[in-house]
Subunit: 267 residues, 5 copies
């Protein structure tokens, strides 16, 4: 569980609720009831969800909605740890030969790295290894991109359906202005849909896409490193050169933390 | 028929209608008549359609409008099924020679794959096969892109003509404010065009473009696989390597489902 | 004359006029006078045109404005006809030699194709033919792109100057609110500039850019075909292969219509 | 001096002024005083300029602001004249050898072309000539791009600070609504900042960026021609081929005007 | 400390404050209290910050916020000085051999340049040097890009949460319109969140992203020069050619200032 994301989401909700209940006469929880309106929820959230449903088949739709849970997970990737593991693998390959990698790959969590190593152990042609791994990477990126654009499209649909709801409410209100004391509340209800749409976009969808994009970029970078280094291992390059290559991907701060005491270009 | 799209479209319409008829005194269907205004339809939908007409010749215009029906069709592509078929073809080619593919290609639905196989059977030069197939693919993408941008342009035209209609209504209203009881309804009518424009964009056009883009990306991916694999078959590559290549395009979940029991890199 | 564009433009104008004159008491042409205001035209259309003038020299400005007439012309390109002609040329070259193309090129309308053929007849080096033709194509695209961005910039300037005009009108109105009966009409006049700006963008400029972009893409595709095929002809490739290449550019529907009865990959 | 730009700028200002002073009772210059408000200028123009200042160091800031004068200059580039000059140079090189170019380059205005010729005269390796010239070109484009994005950023800052100013004005107004006769003028003043911001963007900044972009594209095209042709001259290519290459960059209309009577591909 | 940025930020704040306190009756500091509202700060700034928190883990979040201090620092890069240093290094390498660079690199501040030199001294393969250095550069750009997009995302979140806050305030106001004297101030408070959001975006975030982007582009250019020149030094190219290459990156004005009196292509 990524506790930061949950805290951020709850704090944000709390701030909005505080803004609602806070009034001239201090906290007034009765204001909350003015901000809940079921038909407004139907037209904004329902309109958005049903339009997104139009653009998918059912299976994709369910998967895309489910993918939201990813936002609450800490990505398994740990660049430094992964780099340390690859350096180990390159040392194993150097000392005991490529075939010894099969055993070392047995306990790898990362399916991508594992697949690459098994291809090497199989004696696959280097060009083919690169081809298969790059196809797999671009296919992974394609799947991630589909999920990200689902949530981005929803983030653009939310405010649009909020505005449609507000227009519906305004037109209804404009036809019923006989009782002037009801104009205010009617207008308030009309504005609620715009608020719901904005919250859907800016509270639910956009922070999720920001996070997904960031994680996707990090995962792509790590997988690109893996491809480069797997090919270096296959080519029998010096583990020190491989380590140097790997470190190019790290920030100076992270570099120190990988802590292979003897390494470094100064030797 | 893609039932999801139709359901999504109808549910969305239902939610808007519910938002319209739902009032303080429960459901009131008489509100519906306030939301229908023929001149507003003329200026918003008519303005949008006639401006899109300006940008096409008649034949293209009709084709582009007709292309909307694609949104309600389930795309014929089934990546897994297609991959299984190509693996069959590669086995046929390996065992019985390239010429035997001609017969096997006879019952293929996919014209693109069929054309590629016939080029191979003809003994066309590999570079030329790639050239012709890639030209065909980019030409298909070009045609799809034209349809998608037609609906995207319409999605941007809708709200613009809605606003023009609202301005026309507002100016007329502002010149006729003697009878204050009519200001509300006049303003309501003026706002209807904005609502129509938003519905045109967010209910009709945008979900369609989302779906078309998604289907186009999937079709392009499958056709790219086809090109790669056709060339592998022509080069006489090992069916197991071809299978490995094909699987790189699949998600881990789909991979299991292709179910070639014996396959896998672990052998 | 592209009759569709003119019809689209007139129908659109008609719909706006209908929206203006249509009122509660049926058609009322006196409303039209409320929608014409010369100072509003000056500030919106004049502001837009003079700012576009700032960004060009006089000759370019006149040429860019003139280029609008292209929108009313049917583009001379006919992909199918052109492809038929190139197949003829490839047959001529095959049977009678490259030099015989000079005569055949005499009656070509298309200057681009003609230039390419004359370069081949001259015995120019293939790489140089490609270089010159691609430079020419990218130079044509550059010129088209300049015109398209002129109209796109005007489409963004229109609403901006419309808003400036509305702000001018509103400020004037807000200083003169003593006579409350004049507030409505003053506000109406202020809104006219926004309407003029929107019409300039969405009725005049944007449909034109949609059309120009589409025609430009089609022309580029045809010219790219020409380059590929000219080089195939120069290389003495088989006319049947050339035909196959050409057909990759066509949609399945158009392919049938090119009607070279005997052709096709099945042979 | 590019008289067109100055005329465009003045005409535009005149149209806005006319829109301001033109009223129901004819021209009324007293309205002008309602449109000048120093604190509004401070918050809109000052806010924009100080935020742009935040994003630069002082030297860059002054240079970027100074670069606005470029908009009023006719660019020195004359594609046709330049092409004629290069054809001369290629003839000189052909007849008298590459070393003779040094003298011919003495009276060139264009530092870029001059540098290239001197590199050739020096006997620099062709790949190195291309490398140095392309680095120089991309470095020139980088500098131009920095100036263009400065003005584009200012064009986006202007309306934003205009809106902030309007919000400040509105909040102040809403706290002082006792004297209802002052509400109108207070609101008018609040709107002025939005107007100033729009004028800053659409009158000052955007037409300038349109022009800068256009000139930059033209300069880049000419410099790309120069690089190509310099390498052709160095390679000792036929001046007629060089001329053909050069003409590919010109529009058909300009091509006739270069007027090298004997040239042409038909020979 | 980059004094310009601090001055710009303070001047901008001063102008907004002046706009607030400046009224019809001269300066009136009591207006300031109308512009401070803690719940509005909570919903706008708090909503934005907590949503940005959702999209990061805690460590990244703190680092991204800290990175704002970079805006107040003068970037260490001095292109001219750096170029002079590289020319020195190339002379050292030419005269005393590549190994002598190790000592010369000892006192370099720039870790990137230092790493490159040490790779050369180590006798690393040129292709590998390029590979490692380009990976490091793209990794640096990736890290910068992450920070820049954090502030760009915050710049888009600010106005969105400002609008949500305004909607909350409006709905509350519309339910409490009995006391008409309170409508004005309630509306004023509702607008404050929009103002806070705009200030967050246009005063805090956007100028920072403008500066970060500019500095990042400059740093990337310098590092690209370094890579090119390191490879030239390793290849033993003539220092004069290296100088020529380096100067291609400079503007004509800066070129004079590098002041290597004897250099220049005219020799």
């Amino acid at each position: 569980m990524d506790i930061a994301t949950i805290i951020g989401m709850l704090v944000c909700a709390g701030l909005v609720l505080f803004g609602i209940v806070n009034g001239d006469n201090g906290i007034d929880f009765s204001a909350l009831k003015n901000f809940g309106d079921l038909p407004s929820v139907f037209i904004t959230i329902g309109g958005t969800l049903s339009c997104m449903f139009m653009s998918c088949n059912i299976k994709e739709y369910v998967n895309n909605l489910k993918s939201y849970t990813l936002v609450f997970k800490v990505p398994k990737l740990n660049t430094q740890e992964m780099i340390a593991k690859i350096i180990d693998l390159s040392n194993v390959a150097r000392k005991e030969g490529l075939l010894s990698l099969e055993e070392a790959a047995g306990d790898l969590d990362d399916q991508f790295l594992k697949k690459g190593i098994l291809l090497i152990v199989d004696g696959t042609d280097p060009e083919l290894v690169r081809g298969i791994m790059e196809t797999e990477l671009s296919s992974i990126e394609g799947r991630h991109g589909k999920v990200i654009s689902f949530w981005e499209q929803m983030a653009s649909m939310g405010p649009a359906w909020g505005m449609i709801g507000t227009l519906v409410g305004l037109v209804n209100m404009l036809y019923n202005m006989q009782d002037s004391s009801k104009i205010g509340p009617a207008m308030a209800v009309a504005l609620l849909t715009t608020m719901y749409g904005s919250l859907l976009a800016n509270w639910v969808c956009l922070p999720a896409t920001f996070k997904m994009k960031k994680n996707n970029a990090a995962e792509t970078m790590v997988k690109e490193i893996m491809i480069e280094v797997l090919l270096s291992i296959q080519a029998g390059e010096n583990p020190r050169v491989i380590e140097e290559k790997l470190k190019s991907f790290l920030s100076p701060a992270d570099r120190a933390a990988t802590g292979s005491g003897e390494g470094g270009a100064e030797e």
